[in-house]
């Protein structure tokens, strides 16, 4: 931590300066969301008032409207199913691999590992074009399952990269003594390694959940009106220009981002590792 140095008076002046700059920055970064939250609590007339209202009596009618819409409920359930499945699939497939990457040298390890990173980094649209053609031929396009598979292309590398870091930080002695006591690798992995890695598993699931929850591109192409996820539904609000229902848009927007913000705060400690795909341990 950098210490503010210098005389007492200079130090106080600097602290005031730092706080002022930070206050301006915080205001600039948070304002758009505060304003939208405000819009969602206004009636239609208040939303379009000129000049804009800065003080008003909040109403929940937009939320009541959104929550009684069946397509919102359907999209919410779809998003939940798709994100949870993508997380489970990625963990189930990726965690053993991450463990092997962390502990056992094998031929092609480095290559495979960086191939996974490339998978995470390449533009999603490039995979989506052929994926869509293949999925439609297999009759999978417009199903939730196709979105789960598509989301896995990003969630899986994230799981492997993050979990490798966690496994490397675990002491190897415990598993080794279990092997010597006659446990197989499989048993030791299941009964000793996985319970120890629980904090890592939680962090990896939350970061994947965030990724899948926020995904728009894959879901936009691979779903229809019935299987659409929340981000796709949000974009559909946008269809007409002057006819946009601001109250509905802002209220459902708040409802869409609320869960992600809560998840992210829970996993705050691991955000850096997740953002850098494990290139930096936070």
């Amino acid at each position: 931590m950098a210490q503010v140095v210098g005389s007492k008076r200079k130090r106080r002046l600097e602290a005031v300066l730092v706080y002022t700059v930070l206050a301006v920055l915080v205001l600039a970064f948070v304002f758009p969301l505060i304003w939208v939250l405000g819009l969602s609590l206004k009636t239609r007339l208040e939303i379009f008032a000129t000049p804009p209202l800065y003080l008003w009596w909040p109403t929940l009618e937009n939320y009541a409207d959104v929550l009684t819409r069946t397509d919102f409920a359907q999209a919410f359930v779809n998003t939940l199913i798709v994100s949870a499945s993508a997380v489970l699939l990625s963990l189930f497939v990726g965690v053993p691999a991450a463990y092997a990457f962390a502990r056992f040298p094998f031929t092609g390890r480095t290559f495979l590992f960086f191939a996974l990173l490339v998978m995470r980094m390449l533009p999603p649209i490039a995979v989506l074009v052929p994926m869509y053609v293949l999925f439609s031929k297999l009759g999978l396009a417009t199903t939730r399952f196709s979105v789960v598979l598509a989301d896995t292309t990003f969630a899986l590398p994230l799981v492997v990269w993050l979990m490798r870091g966690f496994f490397e930080d675990l002491p190897a002695e415990l598993e080794e003594s279990a092997w010597i006591d006659g446990a197989s690798r499989y048993l030791a992995f299941w009964h000793i390694v996985l319970p120890l890695a629980r904090p890592g598993l939680v962090a990896a699931s939350i970061l994947c959940l965030q990724l899948a929850w926020n995904d728009f591109l894959f879901a936009a192409v691979l779903t229809n009106n019935v299987t659409q996820t929340l981000p796709v539904m949000m974009a559909a609000f946008n269809a007409g220009d002057s006819g946009v229902d601001w109250g509905g848009l802002t209220a459902s927007g708040v409802l869409v981002i609320l869960p992600v913000i809560i998840f992210s705060f829970v996993a705050q400690k691991h955000l850096v590792a997740g953002l850098s795909s494990g290139a930096i341990k936070g």
Binding site: A2, V5, A15, V18, V21, L22, L25, V26, F29, V30, P32, L33, W35, V36, L39, I47, T50, P52, A97, Y99, A100, F106, L112, A115, L117, V118, M119, L122, P123, P124, A126, V129, P130, V133, L134, A150, T153, A183, S184, R185, Y186, F189, F216, L217, A220, V221, L230, P231, M234, T250, G253, I257, V260, I261, Q268, V272, L275, S276, A279, I280
Partner: protein, 315 residues
């Protein structure tokens, strides 16, 4: 290859058929131990091949065919390099390469400068600074498409609050000279927190001694920053720079939500162009060719990133 010598300490291998079922299971598990790595890797390998490798190979094939929707899987006629030639002679495509590069450079530069500045401020030891940090990372957590739609309302020509402050009904997203700038602002708003978090983690992990030593030797704070802090922060700066380049290069959600590539193609980035080709015009052959060109460009940055972290595994 397995870790050698692991089989030596395994007396349990001689468990006989008469052993109780539990022990027999264990013995079988141990006998299978030498396949452990392969068993652990196989699912990941198969999934990668199935949902990533195969589609990419297929798209490579598609890019040489005149594929249209409704055709059989491999029935598109072979057209050689025609798709690529068409693309490279299309001014919208070459224009979109330029727009993507300009946008990526502008967004990454702003995010790096702003992110570094904020990280330095947040690294100062003052009470209440954690609250600022928490508040500043919120934009990054917002679902991108929702964030972009929020900004669209703020920028609305007649009812938006921003125009009310300015006092002029500017059609931000409808004018070729302001649309990309508006999208740039939203991108910077969303992604500066990423850079800030990575650099803050870097600043926190730096050893204190070099700075103190330099300060004792009479270096001014500016000198310490330029000659000690920044060089020590280099690996983190590099990771943030490359990651942001990779992610801004494929920017899509904001543009889809705010302009759809218009007006007059002024915000037509490569992702948007490929999307429109493939999923609006349904020309998958041309779309595949465009996505392969985009892939190659992204791969360059990606390989550079890998070379960087391999050279110096940042921890």
């Amino acid at each position: 290859m397995e870790t050698g010598g692991s089989e030596l300490a395994r007396p349990a291998l001689i468990a006989s058929a008469a052993a109780p079922p539990r022990a027999a299971w264990r013995a079988r598990g141990i006998a299978l131990d030498r396949y452990f790595t392969r068993v652990a890797i196989l699912p990941t390998f198969l999934v990668m091949l199935g949902i990533f490798g195969m589609p990419l190979a297929f798209s490579f094939y598609l890019s040489f065919t005149g594929y249209a929707q409704g055709q059989g899987l491999f029935s598109g006629g072979y057209v050689g390099l025609e798709n690529y030639e068409d693309l490279l002679s299309d001014p919208v495509f070459t224009g979109s390469i330029a727009i993507t590069l300009v946008y990526t450079a502008a967004a990454v530069t702003a995010e790096m400068v702003l992110g570094l500045g904020i990280a330095l401020l947040l690294n100062i030891d003052l009470p209440g600074i954690r609250i600022c940090r928490t508040a500043l990372i919120i934009p990054m957590m917002v679902t991108p498409i929702v964030g972009a739609l929020c900004w669209k309302l703020l920028l609305d020509p007649s009812h938006g609050v921003i125009n009310d402050w300015i006092g002029e009904p500017i059609v931000w997203l409808g004018r070729p000279d302001t649309a990309l700038a508006a999208i740039w602002i939203v991108g910077v708003w969303q992604s500066t927190p990423y850079v800030m978090l990575i650099l803050l983690a870097g600043l926190r992990s730096l050893p204190g001694e070099p700075m103190e030593a330099a300060a004792i030797d009479g270096a001014s704070r500016r000198q310490v920053f330029w000659h000690v802090t920044l060089p020590l922060l280099r690996p983190y700066l590099l990771v943030a720079l490359l990651l942001r380049t990779i992610f801004e290069f494929r920017a899509f959600d904001n543009i889809y939500a705010m302009t759809g590539g218009g007006p007059a193609n002024s915000t037509m980035v490569l992702s948007m162009f490929t999307y429109l080709l493939s999923f609006v015009r349904f020309d998958f052959g041309l779309g595949a060719a465009a996505s392969w060109l985009m892939l190659l460009m992204a791969l360059l940055v990606c390989l550079f990133f890998i070379a960087t972290i391999r050279r110096r595994e940042v921890t």
